[in-house]
């Protein structure tokens, strides 16, 4: 075991991920193997020696990539052994010696077909101890800064995968995103490697002196650093290089420091390592450890397959890209369209749509469907309501037309009765006039028969009232009010109508017989409309008997009742009705009488139906026809209600 000095900035603990993740790969050729007690001829053993601890993200990624790519691609079985020097936490030379002794002991019973060094400490370790450790195993490296390779001649012939870490290309990226920025803050820590990085940066960034006012926040204690970044003016560019150790000597983990810096920084932060990506930087120009691991695996396989290591030393470089953090770009409001082509934007937060397209489609479909259903239902309800309204409106119109028609019918009937009505009014007028004249004559006589004069005056008053009553009846028939519903005595209605119609009937030589049911219950209805029906029936009956023998000119008006209905029949001795006429008699404009308009019975039917009753006609056994009207007896409720 020879002592190995850890090269470069030996950090006390922890490595920061990507940045310093140099892996040492140990590669041993089977033919050179010390002992081959384990495995068979077609098993190839690859020992990978990493500089730092096993949980370092860079190590994890590279290890995974190696295992995936080498095992899959190889024709023979490849066994990969990973070793971690953990030099950040164990930086003493003794640790490296012990590690060497341990490895030597550990692999004494098998050949090592390939050695891979991961990172600079591991490479230095292997280079310095290779002869005593795995003298015959081919060695290659992985993730070694290309600057180091350029600077170290001893590496010129060594195959490996270089990693280019360049603050300039990252600054260019920052400039592209923030074209107006004129201040630049460069952050490094207090470890040797931090200082090395700072110097390197000062050198490389000197070209930007004119463009930017550059300020180095270097070697500050963490608290102070965090304080300072708060005060960075907005619109500046912050370049986070490395922070392995702070000004107070604490060993730190660069990605973690970066997270805190990025959280507090007043300006966008950029970084140079893959492992910063996703931890707070807007972006940077670097290679990914995935790509580094993959390249390493490829190169390793070539070597295992017998390619001349020298030839293979034409070093490889993993592709370098601008990697950007979508979330940070959003945070700083940076315009994605300014990005150079080929930039890779990661961590784009998927929109809900991108995450759950199926569910969203389903939800939208359901919502659309429901909306459509609701719309349809609302529409239906609306249409129904409109239909209902128009139905009510048309019902209203029909009702109004019916009322108006009924009124016209009444007025017409009154017109037909005018002679009769004139006669009817003239009777009391004649009585009045005659009584008055008689009274005057009586008053002129001596002695005056005052009793007779008083009787005359009494009769005058009575007859005046009688004339007024007739006129009221006539006027009410022509009135224009809405029909109402009130308790009615059918007998009274018939009597009233007979007073009007009887003179006309007499004129026609018609005798009207009245057979009234004295115990007739009340009905509910409109007095005028019911009287109109009676009047129509009487007029019809009288007219039906115009041409029959005077002896036959008889009308019988009869009222009866049963448990539920009162019934009115008007029986005439006229010409009667044929079967066809019986069927059609209630149709509008159907008339059997020359000069008739055929509305009377049609209107009567609509009136009776609106009262919940029925009207029909039958042919009498001997001669003439009978019209029947049936109306429901008023319920006691209805009567009580109207009596209140």
């Amino acid at each position: 075991m020879s002592e190995v000095k850890l090269r470069g900035w030996a950090s006390p603990f922890r490595f920061f991920a990507a940045a310093s993740a140099s892996l040492t790969l140990c590669l041993s050729l089977p033919s050179l193997g010390v002992a081959q007690s384990v495995g068979t001829a077609n098993v190839k053993n690859v020992v990978v020696v990493y500089s730092y601890e096993s949980v370092l993200p860079a190590n994890v990624i590279v290890d995974r990539m190696l295992r995936e790519n080498m095992r899959v691609a190889a024709e023979c079985q490849i066994e990969i052994y990973s070793e971690y020097l953990d030099t950040a936490r164990f930086s003493s030379a003794g640790h490296l010696d012990r590690s060497m002794a341990h490895l030597k002991e550990k692999y004494s019973d098998r050949s090592v077909d390939l050695l891979i060094a991961g990172g600079i400490p591991a490479l230095d370790f292997l280079l310095s101890r290779r002869d005593s450790l795995f003298p015959d195993s081919p060695l290659m490296y992985c993730c070694i800064d290309s600057k180091r390779v350029e600077a170290d001649k001893s590496l010129a012939n060594l195959p490996g995968v270089q990693m280019r870490v360049d603050p300039v290309s990252t600054l260019e990226l920052a400039k592209a995103l923030q074209p107006d920025a004129n201040r630049l803050f460069v952050i490094t820590g207090d470890s040797n490697r931090d200082h090395s990085w700072k110097m390197q940066a000062q050198d490389r960034l000197s070209a930007y002196q004119r463009e930017f006012q550059i300020e180095y926040l270097s070697g500050l204690p963490l608290e102070e650093l965090l304080q300072r970044v708060r005060q960075i003016p907005a619109g500046a560019i912050v370049l986070f290089l490395l922070y392995m150790q702070d000004g107070d000597g604490h060993h730190l983990f660069s990605p973690e420091v970066l997270q805190q810096v990025a959280e507090r920084s007043a300006a966008p932060v950029y970084g140079v390592y893959n492992t910063y990506h996703g931890n707070g930087i807007v972006g940077g120009n670097f290679a990914t450890f995935e790509d580094l691991g993959k390249e390493t695996a490829e190169l390793g396989l070539q070597i295992l397959n017998g390619t001349d290591p020298i030839e293979a030393s034409a070093f490889k470089q993993a592709p370098v890209h601008n990697y950007l953090d979508w979330r940070q770009m959003q945070r700083w409001g940076l315009d994605q369209s300014r990005l150079p082509s080929g930039s890779v934007v990661d961590f784009r937060q998927l929109s809900a749509w991108e995450r759950y397209p199926g569910r969203i489609v389903a939800a939208i479909t359901i919502i659309v469907f429901q909306t459509a259903m609701i719309f349809v239902l609302v529409l239906q309800i609306r249409q129904r309501r409109i239909a209902e309204q128009s139905r009510l409106a048309s019902q209203h119109i029909v009702q109004r037309q019916r009322d108006e028609l009924a009124r016209v019918n009444r007025v017409t009937t009154v017109g037909e009765l005018s002679t009769s009505i004139a006669h009817e009014v003239n009777q009391p007028l004649d009585a009045i006039v005659t009584n008055a004249q008689a009274a005057m004559r009586l008053l002129r006589q001596s002695p005056t028969d005052t009793e007779e004069v008083a009787a005359a005056l009494h009769d005058i008053a009575n007859e005046g009232n009688r004339a007024a009553g007739i006129l009221n009846r006539v006027r009410s028939l022509a009135r224009k009010e809405q029909p109402i519903s009130e308790p009615l005595e059918l007998n009274e209605g018939v009597r009233d109508v007979l007073r009007l119609a009887a003179p006309d009937a007499q004129n026609r030589g018609v005798v009207i017989h009245q057979e009234f049911d004295d115990a007739l219950p009340s009905i509910m209805g409109d007095q005028i409309e019911i009287q109109q029906v009676i009047l129509n029936l009487l007029m019809n009956a009288a007219q039906a008997m115009q041409d029959v023998h005077p002896e036959s000119r008889q009308i019988t008006v009869r009222t009866t009742h049963d448990a539920r209905f009162v019934q009115l029949t008007v029986e005439d001795g006229g010409v009667g009705l044929a079967d066809d006429q019986l069927r059609r008699i209630f149709e509008p404009f159907y008339t059997t009488r020359p000069g008739g308009i055929g509305m009377g019975l049609s209107i009567s039917q609509s009136i009776i139906q609106s009262h919940g009753g029925e009207i029909w006609a039958t042919q009498n056994a001997d001669r003439g026809a009978t019209f029947h009207v049936r109306l429901p007896i008023a319920s006691s409720d209805a009567l009580n209600l109207t009596n209140v």
Binding site: A422, L429, A438, D459, G509
Partner: protein, 208 residues
């Protein structure tokens, strides 16, 4: 004064009207009887006094015009004054043609009514008088023997006794006897008087 005993029969189905008419007629001293229908009047036993009928045209059952017809059919010459609550010209023409005294529209002016009634009663008085003379003549004619009636007709024709004897193939002195009996029975004091009575009775004598 015939009016003292004259009776007016008021026939109207309207009680108020007929009572009013009765009141008016009574106020001028007339006798009044009221009837609610034509039938009621016809069934009533009438006193043998002059009078008239005040009749409403339009009534249930038998109308005023019907009643007029009935009276005419039974040779009842009671004069009629019609009243009508509505002026119906064809109806009034018919009534007047059938002998009505007047046709008054209701409401009736009292003076016109009383005039018409008075006129009707006067006519009835006259009619009654004529009627009684005729019955007298007829009774006398009835009292003649058939031969006397033959002689009477020939006398009225203006034939001489000789011509009558020749026509009846009887002796001339027999003609003279018959002629004397005729003059006595008819109560005629002259041939001219006899002729007038025969004319009044109808222009002819009843044949045996």
């Amino acid at each position: 004064m015939p009016s003292k005993i004259a009776t007016v029969y008021v026939v109207d189905d309207d009680e108020a009207v007929r009572n009013a008419k009765a009141r008016l007629l009574k106020s001028v001293g007339l006798q009044v009887e009221v009837f609610g229908s034509a039938r009621g009047f016809l069934d009533h036993e009438r006193a043998d006094v002059p009078g008239c009928l005040l009749l409403d045209v339009r009534m249930p059952g038998l109308s005023g015009l019907d009643l007029q017809q009935e009276l005419a059919d039974s040779e009842d010459d009671l004069p009629i004054v019609f009243m009508s609550a509505h002026g119906d010209i064809p109806m009034s023409v018919r009534a007047i043609k059938a002998g009505a005294v007047d046709f008054l529209p209701k409401p009736v002016n009292d003076q016109k009514l009383l005039n018409a009634v008075g006129q009707a009663i006067d006519r009835h008085v006259l009619l009654r008088r004529n009627h009684s003379e005729l019955s007298d003549i007829r009774a006398r004619l009835e009292s003649l023997t058939p031969r006397e009636r033959e002689v009477l007709m020939l006398v009225v024709e203006g034939l001489m006794n000789k011509q009558i004897a020749s026509r009846l193939s009887i002796a001339q002195p027999t003609v003279k006897v018959h002629r004397r009996h005729v003059m006595e029975k008819m109560g005629a004091d002259s041939i001219a008087n006899l002729v007038r009575m025969v004319e009044k009775s109808g222009g002819s004598t009843p044949k045996g």
